[in-house]
Symmetry: C2
Subunit: 452 residues, 2 copies
């Protein structure tokens, strides 16, 4: 029997990303109850997913289970589940298991998904980097390409060793830089591939990489990528995607089995369930207190929120925005419960940074901090330092730091594990060697358990 | 184009476990070519899988990719694939992708699987701990039970919080001890479960735990388990397994959603493909040089091999046996290629150790080392030390040590991640919130890629 909780104001936070966690933390000493709901039992540190996909860090290094994070809050609970819809008038969220959660205040902090911009084949064939599972699947897929190529001298011609990245924003640039570093390991560990050269093609529709940065930074990033062997195609779009190739708008057909779609995000589909007209990128228009105009009890923060008072402007879809918005919503809710006034939200730009690879980062400070920018080794070191600080969990920090030090000095990538559940264990109960699908009984029982 | 290799004697090693890796290492300076084939691209450190299942260590801490291990050997190659059969007369191994690998010498080092002893429902409902994937699935399942119980005050009555382990050998004992330690975290992080007590039932058909140990050690282990809250049922067998309960031979019906089957192993099904009459536990009878009587070019080592010259005796199915056998096969192959004589295999017992939990291990030395035994804190420390030394990969050692230190002082279990591929990312391309199966296109494309 669970202890009945006294009837306090109930804040339901959908999503345990940077924004959702910031709301819960901001409310941890308030006279409200907080429920944090997420379909995963862990927070995913999205800025490092590209490192998981390229075997630079282990998957478990960038995840931290939510209950451990909210444990100290006292007034926060965690609920594992996927919210699929809202009853806004009844103040309820619906979950995929059929249950409903009542709220007094709702905070939608569900983040963003990748949009396919209407390009045929993206949904079926592209890899994206938003969830841990997706990063592990991309890692496994990339490693399988190397294994397949090791058995076939013509693999490179068939595009097995061509990795195409769509979009040269921070994610695309970081992914491209990390992939060419992974190739150094391939040269060492795949003697079969000595005569085949893997390559990365970075396709960007605009005239340069790292759109939001200054021109000096962008030029440095592009130069560095090219020098490291990335085939940067500017002013070029992908118009069609198939299993074994992509087609570019200049008519070229690139043989590849791996397209990483980093070409732009849109708000999580839950934004469509709020009953308001969405802005560009499916962002939800919010007031300067970050709630819906007509429903002050419904807040939207992070990647899914628009800029207050601007129909078309958008904040960068980064952790800093989500964190600041989450803190602000916490302040607004606290002010309401104490009957005091809250201030309007103001985003304080803390600068931006991205990493191209070994010894090569870019960092730009905002004008109020002098507007400085630094690249190369200092930028790289700043990036490492900041990400270590923000990575949740002491153990994750120790593990990530040890891994980075190891990778730096050995040029190795240890976390090269094909582990996506598609190769089943050799050792299921009584499985026969001749049985092509190992342990089907287990899968069935998993499904039965899950349904139960 | 791959460089053609000169025609040298080709040793095919099936399985990259302790035995298979020992063969490759032993042959690394010989005039033979070695191919190591495994269905995973990593070596799994099986003795620590129970820690993965109980969130004590991360999954990636106990895996090490094989190419990194054989990199320095020069004459060894890795092949990702699953061997399904042999053509012994034609000296070929068949893989599940339809290809064949020719060998001059074959070493079967495929390990063991769990046998169900004819108990109904084991194949469909039990969890086993032989592969990394299975450990991750068991971990995810255990954590899901806590999440489910947090939502339902009657969960304990329905067996959601009852974890049954069949078999009180080292694996069963270690799993039981680790599970009760995990409950300490549950008490902290699941306030909803304050009034429900999770429990572990360890079911063993014989009269005591840890069969192969001395009676003093066994008594200590049993006492310690009971004191820590494990419900030890000796002289009891499981006769039937269903989704939500197990039936014992004394007529009791235990409500549970989690049965861990640690009740005894049998040789990997590939043993049946060697055309010989198998011994107890499906073990392959071998000569004192560890090959088939009729086929000196086919060696069998590790969990799948019998004791030379004994139809019914069996070595313990532990890493030490596999490693010593692997080294020995390497010596026999080297002796053959240099035309010298090889010695018969002799297993040198180095003692045995198991861990019951925090500050409680058991270790026994063989008679030639004085036959000492130690338990408690010294046994626990010895266990940690030995496992750290044998764990492959510097990074794994650093990470495991850091995790153990953290767990020891905080009583926390950080790696509590539900990550078995059954919750898909929120962020697939264009997925709709109302769509109950997120990103079906992605799954389809994965399957298509794999088939390609």
């Amino acid at each position: 029997m669970t202890t009945p909780r006294t009837k306090r104001h109930h804040v339901l936070v959908v999503g345990a990303g940077f924004g959702g966690l910031a709301v819960a933390r901001s409310l941890r000493r308030s006279e409200v109850d907080v429920t944090l709901v997420d379909q995963h039992n862990f927070h995913t540190f999205q800025p490092l997913l590209y490192q998981v996909a390229t075997s630079g860090l282990g998957a478990e290094d960038v995840a931290h289970q939510v209950r451990g994070i909210v444990r100290g809050h006292g007034n926060a609970r965690f609920r594992l589940g996927r919210v699929t819809d809202f009853d806004l008038d009844g103040r309820r969220a619906r979950l995929d298991d059929g249950s409903e959660l009542h709220y007094d205040t709702l905070v939608l902090a569900a983040g963003a998904v990748y949009g396919d911009y209407g390009v045929a084949g993206v949904r079926e064939h592209a890899f994206v980097l938003k969830s841990l599972q997706e990063a592990v699947e991309l890692r496994s897929h990339i490693l399988r390409q190397f294994e397949a190529a090791a058995l076939d001298a013509h693999a490179a011609d068939e595009g097995r060793l061509t990795f195409v990245i769509a979009g040269a924003g921070p994610t695309g640039v970081e992914m491209a830089g990390a992939l060419v570093e992974l190739f150094a390991v391939v040269r060492k560990d795949y003697p079969e591939l000595a005569a085949q050269q893997p390559r990365v093609v970075l396709v960007e529709p605009t005239a340069g990489v790292l759109g939001p940065y200054t021109s000096a930074t962008r030029a440095y990033a592009e130069r560095t990528l090219r020098r490291r062997g990335v085939d940067v195609r500017l002013g070029t779009s992908i118009v069609r995607v198939a299993r074994d190739h992509v087609e570019l708008d200049d008519g070229e057909r690139l043989a590849t089995h791996t397209l990483v779609w980093a070409a732009g995000v849109r708000a999580h589909p839950l934004a469509e369930r709020l009953g308001v007209t969405l802005g560009p990128g499916a962002r939800v228009p919010v007031t300067d207190r970050l709630h819906l105009e007509e429903r002050p009890e419904v807040f939207v923060i992070g990647d899914a929120a628009g800029v207050p008072g601007h129909a078309t402007r958008a904040y960068p879809q980064v952790a800093q925005v989500a964190i600041q918005m989450g803190k602000h919503v916490g302040r607004v809710i606290r002010a309401r419960s104490s009957g005091t006034a809250s201030a309007p939200f103001r985003y304080r730009d803390r600068g931006q940074m991205a990493i191209i690879g070994r010894n090569a980062g870019v960092a730009e400070l905002p004008k109020r901090f002098g507007g400085g920018r630094f690249g190369g080794f200092p930028g790289w070191l700043a990036w490492l330092f900041i990400h270590l600080i923000y990575l949740p969990g002491h153990q994750n920090r120790v593990s990530a730091l040890a891994t980075w030090v190891y990778n730096y000095f050995t040029y190795d990538r240890h976390a090269r594990l094909v582990l996506d559940g598609r190769t089943r264990g050799s050792a299921a109960v009584g499985a026969s060697a001749a049985d092509p699908s190992p342990a089907p009984g287990h899968r069935a029982s998993d499904a039965a358990r899950r349904a139960a």
